[in-house]
């Protein structure tokens, strides 16, 4: 279509009403910004995955025949920096948060649409700097940028990468501010706090962390760049600094940041589990408040990354204790989810498979976190493959499973097309099997003492490492499949004609069309029922007030 305004015969929706490049790059529409983020982070995911493939191929042989140790260091840094800062942090918030939040609460957009677009530009600018740093020789500090190595010794474009992460950090802050204000100020009439879908509660908690934590890591990283450039003593003991201070400041953000990754996934799981077992989420209030509890207590535990650094033993004891406490709200969620699907009519569609996968894998990841939180076992396990396995179980088995569940669940809403269900199920199975084959052996390797971040190892660990590499090829294949069939479905997928193909509840499923029109709601709906009201299947959550609003009383809780 040559013109910028809509002239087609189809009903206008957010995808077809304007189609120029400028209409995408200058859009303030939260749905289009979500798509911009989706395309960008998908590319970064593939790049990060490529680096992972090199790492696993190198580790297929004990001598590490593929890469030199120098290149290997750069590879895992590339992998970590891209996956954490350019994929996982923005993943669910910037894509599904952006797309769904206004739809779910009955608003026409987020509170600050321009800031929303600016967020994407900051993100892309940051990503560009990181990529430039990587292509100009790469960096080998690890994604944690630990001092004094990063500030005094590391060669390469560390400062450039740091400025990139700084910008991406501000993109994340913008998203957080936007969502907080949107949730406070823009809920449709009748959408009380306890009628909000749990995904919205999860996004609220996530946004709090983004706003309260990200500035700290941004400035801390900038201080590393300042010390590198101007030799101002902050972390270098020779200049009067303290390298452990860096770890305090870094983990003050970066432990809560793991909840930036997992909380939104937990929100998705609540939506998917209830939609595919056709039941209200059990213990709604507990699940909602446990998100807030995680966000707040999550700020008090960062010292568990520093047990073996010379941190005071007393601080260690307190951090260890608080870390155990923070596991409780996660457990609350798991138990409530189990009660949700218990005796429900479970439908085994692709999103549900991912959601169930999440539950199993997150439990393993969380429980091994408890082993790490005990100071005595931590000394043995820290900096081994046990850590690598632990955080991949939570971040890949948890966060990415949630992301994929969301992608399939809301795909018909975002694109108006259905993905091929058979391929979807196959991919979900491959991801689950491949994931466990890749990462379970690493628990054993770590327990046996194999340290992380080395490119070669003694012969006796070869079998488990080969298993892990073999698993990673299955996993990689499982991830490639959705890339292919989802892209395919954009053109050839079955056109969705009903607005609610899953029979799910929630305002986003009650819009007039499968693909919402540019302004979401012709009229702002009035919400009359609690979320997940599956007990009354015929009655919608909200209704469009015409000709005159009649507020029907619905019982909450």
């Amino acid at each position: 279509m040559a013109t910028a305004t809509y002239t087609g015969t189809e009903k206008p929706n957010y995808l077809n009403w304007k189609t120029t490049v400028a209409s995408w790059l200058l859009t303030y529409d939260h749905k289009r910004i979500a798509i911009l983020y989706l395309v960008s982070i998908s590319i970064f995911f593939l790049l990060g995955g490529l680096a992972a493939a090199f790492i696993r191929l190198d580790l297929a042989t004990p001598k590490g025949d593929l890469l030199t140790s120098d290149i290997y260091n750069k590879m895992f840094t590339t992998h970590g920096v891209i996956m954490i800062f350019l994929f996982l942090i923005p993943s669910i918030p910037a894509v599904f948060g952006n797309f769904l939040l206004p739809l779910m609460i009955g608003a026409r957009d987020v509170a600050f649409p321009r800031l929303n677009l600016l967020s994407w530009y900051f993100f892309m600018a940051g990503a560009l700097l990181v990529l430039i740093a990587l292509f100009r020789g790469g960096i080998d500090t690890g994604w944690t940028f630990y001092t004094p190595y990063s500030s005094s010794f590391a060669k390469g474009e560390v400062s450039l990468a740091i400025v990139g992460v700084f910008l991406a950090g501000f993109a994340s802050i913008f998203t957080g501010i936007n969502f907080l204000v949107t949730i406070h100020k823009m809920r449709a009439p009748g959408m009380t706090w306890f009628r909000l879908p749990l995904f919205v509660w999860a996004m609220y908690a996530t946004s709090l962390i983004q706003v309260l934590g990200t500035p700290v890591v941004a400035i801390t990283l900038l201080l590393v760049a300042v010390e590198r450039t101007f030799r101002i003593g902050i972390f270098d003991p020779n200049l009067g600094g303290d390298p452990i201070l860096y770890q305090h400041l870094f983990w003050f953000y970066s432990h809560p940041a793991v909840y930036i990754m997992i909380l939104p996934a937990m929100g998705v799981i609540s939506e998917v589990l209830s939609a595919f077992s056709k039941r209200r989420v059990f213990g709604y209030h507990f699940v909602a408040f446990s998100s807030l509890a995680i966000a707040i207590i999550g700020f008090l535990v960062w010292g568990h990354h520093m047990f073996s650094t010379g941190q005071s033993m007393y601080a260690g004891i307190v951090f260890s204790f608080l870390t155990w406490i923070v596991a409780i709200p996660s457990a609350i969620k798991i138990f409530n989810w189990m009660a949700t699907i218990w005796k429900g009519r479970v439908h085994w569609d692709t999103p549900m498979l991912y959601a169930l996968g999440f539950m199993g894998l997150f439990v393993i990841g969380g429980l091994t976190g408890l082993h790490l939180a005990a100071m005595a076992t931590n000394v043995h396990l820290t900096d081994t493959y046990f850590i690598v396995a632990h955080f991949h179980y939570v971040m890949v088995g948890g966060a990415i499973m949630g992301y994929l569940a969301a992608l399939h669940f809301w795909w018909p809403k975002m694109t108006g097309r259905m993905y091929p269900e058979g391929w979807g199920k196959l991919a979900a199975m491959l991801v689950f099997v491949g994931f466990n084959l890749t990462f379970f052996p690493q628990f054993i390797l770590g327990y046996m003492g194999m340290p992380r971040r080395y490119h070669s190892y003694p012969e006796e660990w070869a079998v488990l490492n080969v298993l892990s590499t073999a698993g990673s090829s299955v996993l990689g294949f499982g991830y490639l499949l959705p890339v292919i069939y989802l892209t395919w479905s954009l053109k050839y997928g079955k056109v969705v004609t009903e607005r609610n193909p899953w029979g799910a509840r929630g305002l986003e499923w009650e819009l007039v069309d499968p693909v919402p029109d540019p302004h979401n709601f012709e009229r702002i709906p009035i919400v009359t029922r609690p979320a997940y009201d599956y007990a009354h299947p015929e009655e919608p959550t909200g209704f469009v007030p015409k000709p005159r609003p009649v507020v029907v009383g619905g019982k909450d809780g």
Partner: protein, 107 residues
Amino acid sequence: MAGHSESHVHPVSLYTRTLWWLMALLVLTVAAGFIPNVPNWLGVVIALTIAVWKATIVIMNFMHVRFSGKLAWLFAGAGFFWLLIMLAFAFADYVSRPWEPFHGWPE
């Protein structure tokens, strides 16, 4: 008296006055650095006091918290409280590092 307005339009003088205050405090910070024989800890106290003062001016005037509702106050306050958490836990580490669990604990 520019700050009394209830409306959302603030006179330019509010911002120019903010700027001058910040500049004056900057000069004060530098000047304090030149006072001879100030013990280290006192220097830190002076510098941090002035810094907090400056931050308060920015938050109140420039960021309009002074003219905003309770919710904005709550969030601004939470920001400071979180800073406090960070400082308290981090300093707790430094303070307790030399403590011995019992006398003669090996280094």
